[in-house]
């Protein structure tokens, strides 16, 4: 990789040993992927994936402290993934609470470190930093140094920004330097699709299962999706964006997708159309039977596969304001249909703190409260990292949560049945 004189000087130690190691890491990372040079980050804000001061990540917290001690901070403000603990709004037993305190003993220290490094605010913990209420919304074509797989795939695909699937730490090093290596999804060639996905379902496919099927098939490649716009339209409405958020998160967690194009809908596809498809692209057709096959392939690792659910999580990635309203109305409706006043299973809906604050001003907030469901800013994945929580039969509408934890996945309609009847 060609470095400017200033970049080479940092690598040679002009700004100290720690900055030299940071530059060495980014250069070695770029060289691995054939980057030709380092280019400036042009987005206003960054996004970090690591929000949790979990004790097993102590080496990471120590690294953070060493950076701060050397006076090294991010060149841009950033948002960060959701908080791992919310004792007030998420059910937890006495023992579970003790385990949370032990697991996240570094949390207070790490929260403080994040603020000193450049966190935008104390309410800026969410995986959906691109929501209007949060305000970390990059423009089309802007260069980012983000991590968090669901946020990266959303920024690339739905917003048309440019970001590689960076790992945690790498994204922070980029924000510290103000530079990222130029390769992969930052380049025009890297955004072309070696896969065509033909959606041929009889009705709108469940976003979380469609994304799972695509991710499992294409792994880290870029898919060009045809036939989806007829179900979700040709405009990026709130509903379309929420659908793409959930579909994208499943492509990124069940596979390693960092960018997808939806014919006639997403910005790159609207601009360039099928010119984005590489010659000899492979084709994967998804119909009703394929979606069913994919969902039925998910293993159930509950000790008792027929156990009655003890907790339901809805919102991984965090829900949008529109999704919070829609779920509130849908849960209320299912309770009425089943002659219930409260949800049959303790239920937590998760969203960014500013989204929750906006939701509290709507009529649907009272509707949701009356169902007995609760609202939280927590990261459900981190909740399930508590070994005592992992033993519980937890159900979710999130394919990402299913992938990383013992939670069992259900489609939205199945989840409503569970909340109304208490059984699966």
């Amino acid at each position: 990789m060609l470095l400017s004189k200033e970049q080479q000087a940092i690598l040679d130690g002009s700004q100290g040993e720690t900055m030299a190691k940071i530059m060495k890491t980014i250069v070695m990372y770029g060289d691995t992927f054939g980057a030709d040079r380092l280019i400036p980050i042009t987005s206003e804000q960054g996004h970090l994936v690591t929000s949790f001061g979990i004790n097993v990540m102590t080496p990471y917290v120590d690294m953070f402290e060493a950076l701060l001690a050397d006076g090294i901070v991010s060149k841009q403000q950033f948002t960060v993934d959701p908080s791992p603990v919310d004792m007030d709004n998420v059910p937890a037993s006495f023992l579970q609470r003790i385990v949370f305190k032990v697991l996240y003993k570094n949390q207070e220290k790490y929260d403080d470190q994040l603020m000193r490094m450049g966190l935008k605010g104390k309410d800026m913990y969410t995986c959906t930093c691109y929501m209007d209420e949060v305000g970390n919304i990059p423009n089309k074509g802007e260069i980012l140094s983000w991590a968090e797989s669901s946020a990266v795939v959303y920024a690339n695909s739905v917003l048309g920004a440019r970001c590689n699937r960076n790992s945690g730490i790498i994204e922070m090093f980029g924000s510290i330097l103000g530079l990222v290596p130029n390769f992969g999804l930052l380049t025009d060639d890297g955004r072309k699709a070696p896969w065509i996905i033909e959606v041929k379902t009889s009705k709108v496919p469940e976003a979380q299962v469609l994304g799972s099927a695509i991710g499992l098939k294409v792994m880290e490649d870029v898919p060009y999706i045809k036939g989806l716009d007829k179900f979700i339209g040709n405009e990026l409405t709130d509903d379309a964006k929420a659908y793409l958020k959930d579909m994208g998160a499943a492509t990124a967690s069940n596979g390693a997708v960092g960018l997808y194009h939806v014919d006639g809908l997403t910005p790159d596809a609207v601009e360039l159309g099928e010119d984005l498809i590489l010659k000899d692209a492979k084709v994967y057709t998804i119909d009703d039977a394929e979606l069913l096959r994919v969902q039925e392939s998910y293993p159930c690792i509950w000790k008792d596969p027929d156990a009655k659910p003890k907790l339901a999580f809805i919102g991984c990635p965090h829900l949008s304001l529109k999704q919070l309203k829609d779920w509130s109305i849908a849960i209320d409706k299912t309770l009425k249909e089943n002659g219930r006043k409260k949800v049959a299973v303790p239920t937590v809906l998760t969203a960014a703190m500013p989204v929750i604050e906006a939701f509290k001003k709507t009529e649907e907030y009272k509707v949701l409260l009356d169902t007995g469901a609760t609202l939280s800013y927590i990261c459900p994945l981190m909740y399930m990292s508590n070994p005592l929580c992992a033993k519980m039969p937890v159900v979710t509408t999130s394919n990402k949560l299913r992938t990383y934890t013992t939670a069992k996945y259900y489609r939205d309609s199945q989840m409503l049945d569970i909340l109304g009847k208490g059984t699966i």
């Binding site: 097993v56 990540m57 790992s167 790498i170």
Partner: protein
């Protein structure tokens, strides 16, 4: 014995027993329980990976196509290296992905662990190598499997 030539991502030599994941290796899902419980033998906790689920990953020659999943992947490998629970080496049949590369490079520059990493070994390598075979890695990216 067969030899396979790959590209060196992180230089070094190693001799270790092979552990093979034919499918994409989900780093967070695989290491999560080991990191949480501080299990230095690092049993794989990814229930979706039937090739290596519950098998020990530490000190093994981890053979895989690529890694998949959460972008905490690099931090997870870095923390496993700091904890002393990292594989002896990482061997990729395909080009290494950005998360695994981050983990391998962070381990190399920011820890004392030695985890040579070689990619582009080809599908032949992944078809041939089996759990328990002995792997020798040379400095130039030559991988001997016996």
């Amino acid at each position: 014995m067969r030899e396979f030539k790959g590209r060196v991502v992180v230089p070094g030599t190693a001799t270790a027993e092979a552990l093979v994941s034919k499918q994409g290796f989900n780093t967070l899902a695989s290491f999560k329980k080991a990191l949480l419980a501080k299990k230095l033998d690092a049993p794989c906790s990814d229930q979706n990976n039937e090739d290596i689920y519950q098998k020990n990953m530490a000190k093994k020659a981890l053979c895989l196509p690529q890694t998949i999943g959460s972008t905490t992947g690099g931090i997870v490998i870095y923390c496993a290296s700091k904890m002393g629970a990292s594989p002896a080496c990482l061997l990729f049949s395909e080009s290494i992905d950005s998360l695994a590369a981050a983990g391998a490079i962070l381990s190399d520059i920011w820890t004392d662990a030695e985890m040579p990493t070689v990619d582009r070994l080809g599908q032949d390598f992944l078809d041939y190598v089996k759990d328990g075979m002995t792997i020798n890695i040379k400095e130039d990216g030559l991988v001997e499997v016996e």
